[in-house]
Amino acid sequence: MSKIDCVAMLLAGGQGSRLGVLTKSLAKPAVQFGGKYRIIDFTLSNCHNSEMDIVGVLTQYRPLELHSYIGIGSHWDMDRRGGGVFVLPPFARDQGGEWYKGTADAIYQNINFLELYQPQQVLILSGDHIYKMDYSLMLEYHRDKQAAVTIGVIEVPWEETHRFGIMSTNGEGRIVEFQEKPSKAKNNQASMGIYIFDYAVLKDYLRRDAEDTATSHDFGKDIIPRMVAEQQKAYAYPFNGYWRDVGTVESYWEANMDLLAERPELDLYDTSWRIYSENLNLPPHYIANGSSVKCSIVSEGSQLYGNVDHTVVFPDVYVAPGAQVKDSVLLPHVRIREGVVLDHVIVGPNTVIEAGSIISEQETNICEDAALKKYSGITLIGADKTIAPALSGAKK
């Protein structure tokens, strides 16, 4: 096997429990997003567009749908000879198997995969974010700086700095201090969880980290602070585009809504940086007489007879005459019956909302049950449910 410049390792094992029922039966990277995509499509499309030809995807939590979705990467045109996408679940060795204990441990357990390629650099990614980024530019930056590690950073609002790993850099972009989720941040440059390591350095730190029983085996908490402390050449690579962690129901809803702006920050229609995804072979969607569809994105196979405003409509969704859907996300195969009113609702795949149901921030006439959960004003309804109005139109 020939020597490869850079291998990407995509951490896709997260359970994403803060996404509620959306991750009940699938891993977070496999959650649908943006009217057609799954969250991991963005990172994998970035890899393809950045000509990162070899990508290991580390999975752990409920990977069935994720594995069969990823396959050998055909959706992203990455089923290439001698390259492509490799799914790397935890596995058993002579002495039995071990689950991944942390992000660093996950990479360490798959060091034999990296050894196959002997790359110059290793790009560490997570499958949890919505963004478009050219990793090859970051790789160039890393090489220009002759860095040991380069961390992708983005400016975040000062009041959110406590949620991130925060970098302080000198004039050349070299990291002089690293604070993991600080209560009092010295800076607002946050780590995006994107790292480029020189492979030799990475191996060394992973080995030492593995021997250390006191660590949590995490890049942000353990490896990076140690490298900064040991004066390794760690650089920050500033990224200015759209970047969202969709780790909570609220942020998932917001990132979907972001796509509906008149000029969205994230342009899905730019053919020079396509976001690839599965294609379902459904006919064009149908918008009926008497309906009104605006400020929305709508996918193939859907049939809209009612009013759809500021809403993300996935494939094969049906909205009956007289229904009103606003500020919502309708996942694939959802059925919205006559006269339904939805406002700020995320409806899971295959769910049916029966005629007359009203679900909004102000008012609802359905029984609140396990299928339905509220997150600061947004109602999340799980997959494969049937929701009907309560017999005595309950008011809240």
């Binding site: 057609k36 064009p284 149908y286 009926a288 605006k294 400020c295 709508v298 049939q303």
Partner: protein, 371 residues
Amino acid sequence: MKRMMGIINLYNSKDLLWELTRGRPLAAVPFAGRYRLIDFTLSNMINSGITNVGILMQGNFRSLMDHLRSGKEWDLARKREGLYFLPPVTGINVENGFPNDLSAFQSNLDYLQNSRQSHVVISGCSMICNLDYNYGLAFHQEKGADITVAYKEMGDLDSYPYSSMLGLDEDGRVRDIEINPVRARYRNLFLEMYIIEKKLLMELVDSAVSRGGTNFLRDAVMKNLDKLKIYGIHYQRYVAHLMSIRSYYRHSMELLRPEVWRNLFFANGLIYTKIKDEAPTKYNDSARVSNSLIANGCIVEGTVENSIIFRGVKIHKDAVVKNSIIMQKSEIGSGATLENMICDKDVRISAGKCLIAEPHYPMVISKGSLL
């Protein structure tokens, strides 16, 4: 299990789609927002479990090959069998001077011979429907037929000039065939689909060519009407017969009826086509859309009524598109008005332009035009 193979015959005796088939074969004409005509024939075959399909290519078929490529989208990129392109005969084999389907069949007898299946489904590309050939095969075997041909009984004879029609007896046996009459005498529109045993097909082709034949239907089938048991099977559901710009337009508009949409796209399986990786379609605040079919990848800021919009079309603010068909990647400038128009691929209509044709007599704007 797998007893049938498919042959798609791209030789068509009459092509009245003029403006749409200038730069492409009939099989590659775009239809229904995201398909090419051949997608329907091919999808019917694979949805019927057929995994070996040969295409008798004709004319300038580059756009068709671009579309089909490996056959992957139709699950026909296989190690064994799959999709075979059978290019036109050149040189020595064309005894009768011009390319024709009978000699195309003949020069591919070895392909037929080497295939494992016992029966062949032959189909053209201008009859658009969603059907299962297994019903045809069951019928074929029950009747003990030599050839089974599919037809649809039509209400209105006048709508189908230049179509082939079948004369049937009470038992459903074909007793007469009219090929492309100006005014038909029978009501049974021939759907250009045959089921026939492979051995018989090979025999009929060889025999007809050696007697100077050039047209499969006329010389191999019609001339044997008395000798062979040819039965018609009635297909009851929706068929669009695309043989002129008017019928193309009329059938496109029929897709806006939800029962036609459902029937054509879901009746017996999905219709597969080339993947384009387009984003979902985006409607802005100023979009006003009604009774329209809209494919992925569009950006709609204007008004769209009773229209079919293909993948990647942009309709700018204050543009009005009515009773029209706008093909892939076309762009309608702000304030432009289109009525009763067919825009081929990559057409750009400048801001403020107004193009209105007569109802039922659509005008075609050719591929790549900038108006």
